[in-house]
């Protein structure tokens, strides 16, 4: 535990020192992972499978706001789906409309949640997202989580039925649109997961705001259990064919990772270094405000149990006591 705390302090000071470089590098890494995942899992348009294009797009994302990353990911997805079939494009556009109406119109602060949720599904640990979003975000984070779930299942349907969709030339366009739409809309798994994740975000947020000891750890525990219960009950009622082992094991990993994230929590502890410029009548000020670091200096306290001087006093009194007798 002590080693972890020391590591946390090192990371804090490292982050404060090199924040200007760390954030773009992290954004570049995330963008690269997202674009590579999109290209490897969809990849229907050859023109944008080019690694040079992916690198340039990731580089752009590294110094531009997260909204640009969201836009470029959306564009990549759309381009691939357009190359596959027009009916899927229409369904994807409807999903984008859903995201616009319920998320982008009201909030622009949780792009990261929306970007990472489908990625976590690909990595088989989606249960991490509602716990993390509830723990570090606001109840509004439930909206991008649900949007991410919807987007993942739409894309999952498209990739799962790509061969059938590409070959079904005999059907009319309307029939194919109908097939794709009903395939996505009647996906009970999507509805159950979206509901479970939304409830989990709200539950985790509610518990971590309570003024009780270990509220955050408790929020993670209760959130993970609630997630498992809702998913399994949903599975029982609607017969959605969840893998019970996958849900339980994934939730345990998700909870463990959230606990780790909680330990290295960046939001409040890790204040940013500020560089500001201003002036008054007499001076120009170029201020670099570095946050104070509570670096735990290794403190060594030597407690002397017996010293000669103390022993002398004891001996003297002992001798006096003897002579007094």
């Amino acid at each position: 535990m002590t080693n972890l705390l020391v590591m946390k302090e090192y990371i804090k000071s490292f982050y404060a020192k090199y924040e200007e470089f760390i954030v773009p590098v992290l954004k570049f890494g995330l963008a690269l992972i997202l674009f590579i995942t999109i290209n490897s899992r969809l990849g229907y348009m050859e023109a944008i499978n080019n690694p040079a294009l992916v690198l340039v797009a990731a580089l752009l994302c590294s110094f531009l706001p997260l909204g640009v990353m969201l836009f470029l990911c959306g564009a990549f997805l759309l381009a691939h789906v357009v190359a596959l079939s027009l009916e899927c494009t229409a369904v994807l556009l409807l999903a984008y409309l859903f995201i616009l109406v319920f998320y982008l119109r009201f909030s622009g602060k949780n792009h990261l949640v929306l970007l990472v949720t489908p990625l976590l599904f690909v990595w088989k640990i989606p249960y991490l997202m509602p716990l993390a979003a509830g723990l570090f975000g606001t109840p509004a984070a439930a909206v991008p989580v649900v949007c991410g779930v919807v987007l993942y299942y739409v894309l999952s349907y498209v990739t799962g039925n790509a061969a059938a969709l590409g070959a079904a030339e005999a059907d009319s366009m309307l029939q194919r649109f109908r097939d794709v739409t009903s395939g996505v809309m009647q996906n009970r798994e999507m509805v159950i997961v979206a509901a479970a994740f939304a409830i989990t975000v709200l539950l985790v947020y509610g518990i971590r705001r309570m003024s009780i000891d270990y509220s955050r750890a408790l929020a993670i525990l209760v959130g993970a259990l609630a997630d498992i219960v809702i998913l399994l009950v949903g599975d029982l009622i609607y017969d959605a064919n969840f893998s019970i082992g996958g849900v339980i094991f994934g939730s345990i990993i998700g909870a463990a990772l959230t606990l780790l994230m909680q330990f290295f929590h960046f939001n409040l502890d890790y204040a940013r270094t500020e560089k500001v410029q201003f002036e008054d009548d007499e001076y120009y000020y170029y201020v670099k405000a570095v946050p104070k670091m509570a670096v735990a200096a290794p403190e060594k306290r030597v407690k002397r149990i017996t010293t000669q001087r103390a022993n002398q006093g004891v001996r003297r009194s002992h001798v006096r006591g003897k002579s007094g007798k």
């Binding site: 109406v101 119109r105 000020y285």
Partner: protein, 131 residues
């Protein structure tokens, strides 16, 4: 001689200005009702487009049934039902927009009034030093 307390306060103010302060100033540039009204117009456009798209998708999905029954169905009653549905969706979305942007405007004014309070303090202090 540099006044350290003044520098500290000015740094905090400049930092606020840098991170969201400019946006807050743009929002506070409107009267409350103008700001909320503008957002509601934007919401009206978005929800109308979304409803049209959803209606179009529903029409494509049920194209065969609609075409088979188009002569037998009561078009006026169907149109009224669709209009009623649109009005309900619109009213709900507008209400959510109104609440969200009302809260957002109040929060913005609160942050900005604190900033202006700091600014006034700074001005007063400079005037005192000038005298």
């Amino acid at each position: 001689m540099i006044d350290q307390e003044k520098v500290l306060r000015m740094t905090k103010m400049a930092s606020y200005e840098e991170h969201g302060g400019k946006k807050d100033m743009a929002v506070a540039g409107y009267f409350r009702n103008d700001y909320i009204g503008m957002q509601m117009i934007l919401s009206f456009v978005v929800v109308t487009l979304a409803f049209l798209a959803a209606f179009g998708a529903w029409l494509c999905f049920n194209f065969v049934e609609v075409m088979e029954n188009i002569y037998s169905m009561d078009l006026v009653a169907t149109g009224q039902k669709i209009l009623l549905l649109y009005l309900i969706v619109l009213a709900g979305y507008m209400a959510v927009t109104w609440v969200i942007y009302l809260i957002r405007y109040a929060q913005t004014r609160k942050r900005l009034s604190l900033f202006l309070e700091y600014l006034n303090d700074l001005d007063e202090k400079e005037e005192e030093e000038g005298l």
